[in-house]
């Protein structure tokens, strides 16, 4: 069985992000990490491998060259193989293009199951999973919190739905979108880190596996950022003073009602 995991390297939560070029571009401080939610996907693939033995875990990312570091983390955790699809200057704001490239890779490399995290924490799109599944004509299940060992060409999973939880059975091949709570991602061991440092991670050009790159250019993108803005900061906090907690509570309610008008 072959499990494909799609991951993204994203700006670290603590990275400083500056708007430049009159609102037309962003400058991100050089602090990147493997996307938080993708760690759960890698971990889950490794756990299935541990239970089923005969499983290959392949981790793939579409992004600039620096993304290779995120793939090394995946290898250090225990993935068998990693592949970077080099975005070069093709990088766009349109998730359809990313999905097209990743699904093209999946088609060429083959898979029984695809795992991905519920969203990237940089663009916060949460779109790639269902898009890739649609392009591959396979079922997807979102917000998965438990994956049982696949058996007889099927897999049972638990997922969150509005106001509850559901257990479903899905036929393979399928795409599962995992979220926090499914597992505790392992911290790579030093032997894993050593292995990852030496690992040969191929860097592919999308054109080499039959993607029509002309349909993946910035000009072809159906959505694009027109400008960036800083969120308007709030004025400094107003501390509610009073001799007792009761008095402060009373004054707070008064300002919420009369000044902020939210009560």
């Amino acid at each position: 069985m072959k499990i494909l995991v799609f991951v993204k390297q994203v700006a670290d939560t603590e990275a400083r992000i500056t708007i430049t070029n009159n609102g037309r571009s962003l400058e991100v401080e050089n602090k990147y990490a493997l996307n938080f939610f993708d760690e759960f996907a890698i971990e889950e693939a490794l756990r299935i491998k541990e239970r089923l033995k005969d499983v290959e875990v392949v981790v793939c990312s579409y992004g600039p060259k620096r993304s290779i570091e995120a793939l090394r983390t995946a290898i250090a955790m225990g993935a068998d193989r990693a592949v970077l699809i080099d975005s070069k200057d093709l990088d766009t704001d349109d998730p359809l293009i990313t999905a097209k490239i990743l699904s093209g890779f999946a088609k060429g490399d083959g898979f029984d199951m695809i795992l991905c995290g519920k969203q990237a924490i940089d663009d916060e799109n949460a779109t790639i999973g269902p898009m890739v599944a649609e392009m591959l004509h396979i079922p997807h299940v979102g917000l998965v919190t438990k994956i049982e060992t696949p058996e007889g060409g099927e897999v049972r999973v638990d997922r969150d739905i509005e106001g509850g939880r559901q257990t479903v059975k899905v036929k393979l091949p399928c795409l599962l979108i995992v979220q926090k709570g499914i597992n505790e991602p392992r911290v790579p061991l030093i032997t894993g880190v050593m292995k990852a440092m030496k690992a040969n991670i191929p860097v592919l050009d999308p054109a080499t596996y039959g993607i029509d790159v002309n349909s993946c250019t910035k000009e072809e993108a159906k959505v694009k950022v027109v400008r960036y803005e800083s969120p308007g900061g709030r004025p400094p906090v107003k501390f509610i003073e009073g001799a007792t907690a009761e008095e402060k509570a009373k004054r707070l309610i008064k300002v919420l009602k009369e000044e902020a008008r939210v009560l």
């Binding site: 949460a126 079922p139 257990t167 969120p231 906090v237 501390f239 939210v262």
Partner: protein, 327 residues
């Protein structure tokens, strides 16, 4: 092309999700300016009451009926919406950025090859061009996205992005039939509803959130009481969820939910970056904390520096009085 707008109506329990009504209000404001039509799209209504609740908001309401359509599934809803979009050719299809919206819209966008912007918080027009506002990097950056496409574009919006206008009419109802036969690839074995009849965290107007300063799970009783008094929800910081004082579904922040209620009250929440990323778009933020240097105060509009367990009972009494006055 006429600038008609489709709005996806999402049900909740037996009724209609508030965020769908917000989107209908916003859509109608746009189509009024373009002399075009706002269509509500309601698939598999659970009751006629649901149809009646929605009718005052759009210009026209398309109701799709068929066996097996009362529960959302992407495999049954996607082909229905694909057909409706190809028939009516709206220029925008709006939906809520809820669990359902996030499952359905990207799948539909890929099927149609349509432009799609997710998790937006606003939309404005510069001439004929729609510009969609979206938060990135946990709210550190706002981006305005343009749509480079003639055909229908899909946009999902966070709940609480728009206010609800007073309805002004009664939509004509267009009845359509839909096929509810699902793909054999996915079989539902069991469904457990845990939160029925409760407002969703992301849709709540009022959120009172507990942090590590709450000291223990047994202390959440008072904020539960305040939340139910205000018909809102209890939220939790990551520390609280990791300590298993509250369930993950209550978690607000980078690894939890993003919320923007009218009023957020943080109780004993320190205000770490991963938490504020999930709540700093709230309209009004109140922080209650013993420590005057807690980072949460940099994000708050109003602050109280005092012992939580003295402030919360007093706050509850004041809110109770307010509710009684309002009758």
């Amino acid at each position: 092309m006429a600038k008609d707008i489709f709005v996806f109506i999402e049900g909740k329990d037996e009724g209609v999700r508030k965020s769908s009504i917000e989107l209908l209000s916003k859509a109608k404001g746009i189509t009024k300016n373009h002399n075009s039509t706002t269509y509500g799209i309601l698939i598999g209504p659970k009751s006629e009451e649901m149809v009646d609740t929605v009718r005052p908001y759009p210009d026209k309401l398309i109701v799709v009926r068929g066996d097996g359509l009362d529960e959302y599934r992407w495999d049954t809803y996607t082909p229905i919406l694909e057909r409706l979009i190809k028939t009516y050719r709206p220029f925008l299809f709006l939906g809520p950025s809820t669990i359902t919206g996030k499952d359905l819209f990207p799948r539909l966008a890929a099927r149609l090859g349509a432009a799609y912007i997710s998790d937006a918080t606003g939309i404005e027009f510069e001439g004929e061009e729609a510009l969609v506002k979206k938060a990135m990097f946990g709210g550190k950056i706002i981006s305005w996205m343009g749509i480079n496409e003639k055909d229908c574009a899909l946009v999902t919006f966070r709940p609480n992005s728009f206010s609800i206008d007073r309805p002004s009419g009664m939509a004509e109802v267009i009845e359509e039939m839909g096929d509810g036969k699902s793909e054999e690839a996915i079989t539902v074995l069991e469904t457990k509803k845990t939160m029925e009849k409760k407002v969703d965290l992301q849709e709540a107007d009022f959120i009172i959130c507990g942090g590590r300063g709450m000291k223990g799970p047994e202390q959440f009783g008072i904020i539960e009481e305040i939340a139910s008094l205000m018909e809102g929800r209890v939220g939790a910081s990551r520390a609280v969820v990791d300590a298993k004082w509250r369930d993950y579904e209550d978690q607000i922040g980078k690894s939890g939910k993003t919320v923007s209620p009218k009023l957020y009250i943080g109780c004993g929440v320190s205000g770490a970056l991963h938490h504020t990323m999930g709540m700093d778009t709230s309209k009004v933020i109140v922080a209650i904390n013993k420590d005057p240097n807690a980072p949460i105060f940099q994000y708050a509009d109003y602050g109280i520096v005092d012992d939580l367990f003295d402030v919360l009972p007093a706050l509850k009494e004041e809110l109770k009085k307010l509710k009684e006055q309002a009758g």
